[in-house]
Symmetry: C2
Subunit: 519 residues, 2 copies
């Protein structure tokens, strides 16, 4: 009978009035004028409460409080149950009466117990035990055996040692104000480091005053939708998740078709009516096309002429393999283009570190939206990244993984040679493998891949609408890879993310891909 | 004449058509079929470009590209200016013609230059240099000499060494998947650690499945407003910043008056009509009142009966000085109360780490809103905090700073003894010092304090409306500190934050306060 408590007291109804334990000056708790707990005890109460079963710090009084709290929370002590008098419980447990009274008082202060003048201490009215928690819908899937889905870098390459060193330096150098609330735009150290890096490596017109550090690309996009972009044109095909980010933050998405020269910018202000456009100029997601220079000009001109805001998603601009990276579009019209970059592909998504380079007029509104959204992004990660950029460890890491990804890309191309010529391979961490209209389609390939334990993406995952519709190709636009004209249906293709597998798992993943495509 | 470039070419108008450099398959950039740059060179072009002035990595071609890009971005090379032929510039700079051509091609790909069939390479059409960035309105104020404003802990106490050790352990233990995109609810490690800690230290009914890790309290409140709370009752007085968080995220704020027993919960569902209420039961902000047990019951009953959602802001629950902390209200009605906690007061606001313990039905919607807001909170900080909680370093730190704050509180009380009796001092990092209606009022004290270089808060900073209005006190409610009845005007008082100054600066800040109050 250890741990057993009476679960109710049938001896009588409770008074209806809510007798207060104390009439409360601001600070006096109910300890000062607490309940008289020596009223008639429940008949037959026989407590064998094992205080050792409620381990923790704080002595016997604290143990008793925990035991009582657990008993009420867990439903073992039901609402309206009358507790033994302090004297009686003290005797039973071998505690002083003062200890028991203090524990009762504490639980009265917390609302678990109620003191009734003349009727002792009872369990407060509350429903039974809490319902068990349900895991949310977003349950984790088991990882596939071979993961060639696009979207993640090789996280086995995360430079944990360099990150730790950078954190140590950052903490050593930080004045104590660093640990207080900070500038919603981010730390000056990181904004300064980014201004230098982005100007140097990405051709961005950046100074610290126009940068806002974010908790990643998603937050940057969400902030822009809240502040400056209600109807947003987004590339078709493109990442569905980002479209949903726009919608969830109050925006409306319209499709901007793409072709072999990238986003069809000529449609903006015409068939595609939007106040803002999100583009991936360096490496269109998912087709891998680099935005054609004429389109870059058209886009910059559209923005400058008041057509709307251009949001440049430079998600993998650091990874260009065959020549120097194409500089950021933002450099052409820095007062009309927002540049969004991230450490997710270069270091790792888990850092949740991104940055926006904004036209000056948007800095204030975006910083304010950030302030009321999450105040600012955590400072220690920001300072570590600033250290890593400052001592060129960031560049070294980017160069090292760029080499690795390039080898992976080359291996992909060579393994598919003769049958498939992946496109979009000049940059980034993924390639488009067009499927022959006469062969198996996306659905069939995906079925085969699933049987082989291989996960991959498809073009079909990325269209705005399931099939057809939207704006038709104009005569001046080259179709995607030049073939869509002869195929009125949408092209079919696989999106192969070659960043995802760890270094050891990549060859086997390619083997699986080759087998699936050969069958 | 070093670094000088021709700024325009008066020799003739540019062709109107936008001649494309290449007809673009997906990956071929303009290098493959780039412009013929050997057209007629500008007469009189004489370039002395000092490539050493554009330092950086990547060799002479990269240096030339940077120099050209800088010149265009900076306005030295104006739109429509014609560049020298590749041959001529190669001769001038002592480079191979191929190098110059590659640099031109790169800048054409980036949109800075345009190739004209038969007329060489010109600077692309774009407006002049970007306008200089304006600093946003949120400029930093110089810190006051003596800072007794409430809201921040003593950030000189941030346990940087312990945090670094915890980070090291977290990184050493982390499987590589840790560095990828993660669960929007937060890492399982931190949710598990928090479930144990909050149950043990705060009486919260918590299991990892009902916890969502946030980037601080502000984000938690913002998420709740977006998901579950449109009309939100908030304590009056209370923190204006939090009211603005509600409004900025689409919520509407109504005032819930407080008195000497805390929030006047009896008004909910009556005079105060709201679907949710934010309360600070452990230590009302800013009056410091602990919510009376009868009010706790009433609030839990209101929530359970479908009255609305209770949002428990437990911002400083760890700091209770004279007896064990009052347990969380959430423990009484875990299916109807959201518990919000934060590391901001215990460790430091800059970490931007907070947590929500949710009724199970809200876990999915809140996690989804978080996903589309910023995906999840940075993982490395989460893992470091989990380590710190797991090895009880967190508890040790909390105990250590609690002792320190208690000494500060005692010093505050003793320094003001005889003239003022601060209230709200049982817990937290701030106290309310009521001003005598016959003496100087808040505005006058603030003026005197400003002259002494002393910053502090006032009750007047915290009312919902500038004066009067709102719901009147009911007969059953004790007025704030029992005196508001005799003073129909709102009570006047100072809010003294004794957490803010560094350990060394606190006595001097108190000296300043005493002088200001004595004058």
């Amino acid at each position: 009978m250890a741990d057993s408590w009476p679960t109710s007291d049938p001896s009588g109804p409770l008074p209806a009035s809510s007798g207060a334990a104390s009439s409360g000056s601001a600070d006096s708790g109910p300890t000062d004028s607490g309940p008289e707990a020596s009223g008639p005890a429940s008949p037959g109460v026989d407590l064998h409460l094992d205080l050792a079963a409620a381990p923790g710090s704080g002595g016997r009084r604290a143990a008793l409080e925990r035991a009582l709290r657990d008993a009420v929370q867990g439903g073992r002590l039901a609402p309206a149950a009358r507790l033994p008098s302090t004297r009686r419980l003290a005797e039973q447990l071998g505690l002083s009466r003062g200890t028991v009274k203090a524990a009762y008082d504490q639980l009265i202060a917390e609302g678990y117990l109620t003191a009734r003048q003349g009727s002792g201490t009872v369990v407060a009215e509350r429903p039974g035990a809490p319902s068990p928690a349900r895991p949310p819908a977003s349950g984790a899937q088991p990882p596939p055996r071979h993961d060639l889905r696009p979207g993640s870098p090789d996280v086995t390459s995360f430079p944990a040692a360099a990150w730790l060193r950078a954190t140590r330096r950052a903490l050593a150098a930080a004045p104590s104000a660093t640990f207080d609330y900070g500038d919603p735009r981010g730390t000056l150290q990181l904004r300064t480091a980014l201004a230098g890096y982005l100007g140097r490596a990405r051709g961005v017109v950046a100074d610290p005053e126009r940068i806002v550090v974010t908790s990643g690309y998603v937050q940057g996009l969400a902030l822009l939708v809240a502040v400056a972009a209600r109807v947003v044109a987004m590339e078709d095909p493109g990442l569905p998740f980002h479209r949903e980010v726009v919608r969830r933050n109050g925006g409306q998405v319209v499709a901007l078709p793409t072709d072999g020269r990238g986003a069809r910018t000529g449609l903006l202000g015409g068939a595609v009516d939007a106040g803002a456009v999100v583009v991936t100029p360096a490496h269109q997601y998912p087709t891998g096309v680099t935005l054609h220079p004429s389109r870059r000009h058209a886009l910059a001109a559209w923005a400058r002429s008041g057509g709307g805001l251009v949001i440049e998603d430079d998600y993998d601009g650091e990874f260009r393999y065959d020549r120097q990276p194409v500089g950021a579009l933002q450099g052409m019209a820095p007062d009309h283009v927002v540049y969004l970059g991230t450490a997710s592909k270069t270091l790792g998504p888990a850092l949740r570190l991104g940055w926006m380079v904004l036209p000056p007029r948007l800095v204030g509104p975006v910083a304010e939206a950030k302030l009321y959204g999450d105040f600012h992004t955590g400072a220690i990660g920001q300072l570590a990244l600033a250290e890593l950029i400052g001592d060129h460890g960031y560049d070294r890491h980017v160069r090292a993984v760029r080499l690795r990804y390039r080898r992976r890309r080359d291996l992909l191309v060579s393994r598919l040679a003769g049958r498939y010529a992946p496109s979009g391979i000049a940059a980034g961490l993924h390639a488009l493998v067009r499927l022959d209209p006469r062969g198996p389609d996306e659905a069939e390939v995906r079925r085969r891949a699933a049987r082989a334990g291989l996960a991959l993406g498809t073009l079909g995952d990325h269209w705005h609408t399931p099939a057809g519709g939207g704006v038709q190709d104009g005569p001046q636009d080259a179709a995607l890879d030049g073939t869509a004209e002869s195929a009125p249906d949408r092209p079919q293709g696989l999106i192969i993310g070659y960043g995802t597998p760890g270094e050891g798992g990549y060859p086997a993943a390619l083997d699986a891909l080759v087998r699936v495509l050969r069958d």
